[in-house]
């Protein structure tokens, strides 16, 4: 029994976080609108190119990258407020996969790989990961793709799914088994033929992801990452993804609740504003309470992310809190918008689909709780 509530992450904040909070809030509000997001969704655009360019100019793809590689040299805690604001606006920018790919390279890459790829990431934000496979498993070790070393490098085989923003990325981190051991690779995306990529149909239409057929793809020997660091890198990918996804969901929950509260304040039925009916009012209050709790869990996870033995528990708790807060708020948002809620035009569905998407990527509530039980009770 290792559980000690006092050890489970405290809450605090850095000056950089406060600053980024302010800047990110203003920046994201000015960059986009739901109307613009819907337009891009409908157009099938790969991402919001203009916002992305501005993000890169702000240097935000390098928040967590050390200054020696051109980054700002802060920690993931400082990336959290940015992801939160991006989530609040449903912005179509590759902030999360890029930041996580950078973390992967920083954690498990060779010095050469860091020098090659990190500066490029800071500049373009165009990096992503291909880890999951068709078995649907949340376990990043549960893969079947292989890489066999030959005279021209590693010859890959297998299929990856849910590689986000692949068509607009330049750098890819992927996993495959080398002699039955999971290994990570980092490579230029142009090593993968366009014909090997298929754009997937996602529940969240503001997201982009691809299935990649690795059959016949060969990558240079230099693409392989540090064998000794595979486990710690996979763990970092998992937790960093969940931390930032939690931030994106908390931001989404906030705007989903605001959007619904606005409706409850203006829509009348039976001669009264529907927000005066406790069936709606009390439930949205419960959603709000759930959101505020999720925010506290999120900031605590950000604050203690790097602390051995606390980071994982705090992050998985944040993931549970954020997933539940957004799912519940969005489910009720659909219901409380009545007939309009059932239409494509109502934004409630955007948030609900977003929550389902996040529950799919790096573990859902049940998965995280199982991991937490193992962490805290064993």
């Amino acid at each position: 029994m290792t559980f000690d509530p006092q050890a489970l992450g405290r809450l605090g904040i850095t000056e950089e976080q406060v600053e980024l909070m302010d800047v990110a809030e203003n920046f994201c509000r000015d960059q986009t609108s739901i109307a613009a997001v819907r337009e891009m969704m409908a157009s099938g655009a790969a991402l919001d190119i203009s916002a992305n360019k501005n993000l890169a100019e702000m240097g935000w793809f390098g928040i967590t990258i050390p200054e020696e590689f051109g980054g700002i040299g802060l920690s993931l805690a400082e990336a959290v407020p940015v992801a939160e604001q991006i989530g609040k606006r449903l912005m179509m920018v590759p902030f999360i996969p890029t930041t996580v790919a950078a973390q992967a390279i920083l954690t498990g890459g060779t010095r050469t790989q860091m020098e090659t790829y990190l500066p490029k990431i800071v500049e373009t934000g165009a990096a992503t990961l291909a880890l999951s496979e068709a078995n649907g498993s949340f376990d990043l070790n549960d893969i079947e793709s292989t890489a066999v070393l030959g005279p021209n490098g590693y010859r890959l085989s297998g299929t990856k799914i849910l590689a986000e923003n692949l068509d607009s990325s330049e750098i890819l981190v992927l996993s495959a088994k080398v002699q039955n051991a999971v290994r990570l690779f980092v490579l230029d995306i142009n090593l993968i033929p366009k014909t090997a990529m298929r754009r997937e149909i996602l529940i969240d239409e503001t997201k982009r992801a691809f299935t990649v057929n690795l059959e016949g793809v060969t990558v240079p020997e230099s693409a392989i990452m540090d064998a000794a660091k595979t486990a710690v890198t996979l763990q970092r990918i998992d937790l960093a993804s969940n931390l930032l996804a939690s931030a994106e969901q908390v931001g989404g929950a906030q705007s989903c609740i605001d959007y619904t509260v606005d409706y409850l304040k203006t829509r009348k039925q039976f001669g009264k504003l529907i927000g005066s009916y406790q069936a709606l009012k009390h439930t949205i209050v419960d959603a709000y309470v759930s959101y505020e709790k999720a925010r506290s869990l999120l900031y605590a996870a950000a604050h203690s992310f790097e602390e051995q033995g606390k980071g994982e528990a705090a992050t998985r708790m944040a993931a549970v809190g954020a997933g539940r807060a957004l799912s519940f708020a969005a489910d009720r948002a659909i219901q409380f918008h009545g007939g309009f809620g059932f239409t494509y035009d109502c934004d409630a569905q955007l948030y609900r689909r977003r929550a389902i998407f996040h529950d799919s990527l790096f573990g859902n509530t049940r998965w995280h709780k199982q991991k937490l039980a193992a962490l805290l009770f064993n």
């Binding site: 997937e200 529940i203 969240d204 799919s360 199982q370």
Partner: protein, 393 residues
């Protein structure tokens, strides 16, 4: 008259032979979920076949196109349809609302004109109750009907009209007297043709991404006044009567069934297929869904046994919609959590589990927790009409 047993045997044989299987597109669970022309045409054709074979409207009078048999015959056939899990009977507003009403209080001319087309699905019916400003508050409907000789002139708009763009007729709740002593007393119930000048439908896109229903605009649309059911001012009473047909609280439906109820076996299969049935936490959750499904199923059986509901006869019928539609939403939502990373996908994605069926079902489930009186309104109704609690508004 053929015996119920023999009729059931015929039905068993016919559905065993004729039930369509292995379609390459998904069928909707309810008529509200029809999302594509392909689905619509398939279901229209299927209802026609069932009708032609004699297994729909079996208890309706033969002089208007029915089978001239008894309710027991139709029940037997309907039960067999369920057992074979056949596609739904799609002309639901006609079969469960307009048809029973016309047979109940319609004129001889109404019956001659409408019944057969309802059964054969040749004439698609839709419902015009909700308005943009009055979704839950049906009694506040404002669409105006002004009598002008043999016609009514209609102005206003109806919304959430399922099959509105396919509809030949609409059952319409319209305001004939804006000065009535209360909002209900000014309403009338009119059978309205939709292929007249001044009626325009506009498709509404559902949250699933598909088109499912319409908004209908009436601009000086002239319709025959003989579509008036009952008398002017009786519209609210008649609308409530049609709700009872739908709830099955009164007899008279044409039979067949229009809603495929969620079957916990399907989610068990999903859990097994996704390797989750060994997870004790999942097992624990699934048992809840099984108990819930079983209790709803048993509620239905008990509602028919007078001695077991006599203390509160309205209870089970009035809670049926609330309990079933919320259950459907919840079980479909839960199903997503069994799919691992693949729950990121949606309909038409090859990697999707069961072709994205569960995701679409979950989103579509809101049509039933919102439409036909939201779950919140249902709780008001149960609180007030079953438990006798004071009104909330």
């Amino acid at each position: 008259m053929i015996s119920v047993e023999d009729f059931a045997k015929d039905a068993e044989k016919w559905f065993a032979e004729n039930t369509p299987r292995d379609l390459d597109f998904m069928l909707p669970l309810t008529f509200m979920e029809v999302g594509t022309d392909q689905q619509f045409e398939f279901l229209q054709n299927w209802q026609r076949q069932v009708y032609d074979a004699g297994f729909l409207g079996a208890a309706w009078p033969s002089e208007y196109g029915g089978g001239g048999l008894t309710d027991a015959h139709q029940s037997a056939a309907t039960k067999i349809m369920r057992a074979h899990n056949v596609p739904i009977m799609m002309n639901t507003i006609g079969l469960s609302w307009a048809g029973p009403l016309i047979l109940d209080i319609g004129s001889e001319a109404h019956k001659k004109k409408y019944i057969k087309g309802i059964l054969s699905a040749e004439d698609i019916w839709c419902q015009g109750f909700s308005e943009p400003e009055n979704g839950s508050d049906l009694g506040n409907a404002q669409l105006r009907a002004v009598r002008d000789g043999d016609e009514y002139i209609l102005n206003g708009s109806k919304i959430w009209t399922t099959h509105g763009h396919y509809g030949k007729y609409m059952i319409l709740l319209a305001r004939t007297n804006p000065d009535a002593p209360n909002k209900y007393a000014g309403l009338s119930f009119i059978l309205t043709p939709m292929d007249v000048p001044g009626v325009r439908t506009q498709k509404i896109r559902k949250l699933t991404g598909e088109h499912g229903f319409t908004q209908t605009f009436f601009e000086d649309a002239r319709v025959p006044a003989d579509g008036l059911m009952g008398a002017e001012g009786m519209g609210w009473k008649i609308a409530m009567q049609t709700l009872e047909y739908e709830r099955g609280a009164r007899g008279g439906q044409a039979g067949g069934y229009s809603i495929t109820e969620p079957d916990p076996l399907e989610i068990l299969n999903l859990a097994r297929d996704t390797g989750q049935l060994d997870n004790p936490v999942v097992r624990d959750d699934l048992i809840d869904y099984i108990i819930d499904a079983q209790s709803l199923n048993l509620n239905g059986q008990r509602a028919k046994i007078g001695a077991l509901v006599r203390d509160n006869p309205a209870g089970l019928p009035l809670m049926d919609k609330l309990a079933k539609t919320e259950f459907a939403r919840e079980i479909n939502q839960y199903a997503l959590t069994l799919q691992g990373t693949r729950s990121a996908y949606y309909v038409e994605e090859p990697n999707a589990v069961d072709g994205g069926w569960w995701h679409r079902s979950y989103l579509n489930a809101f049509s039933a927790t919102i439409g036909g009186g939201t779950s919140q309104i249902q709780r008001n109704i149960i609180g007030e009409h079953v438990l006798g609690l004071p009104k909330s508004y």
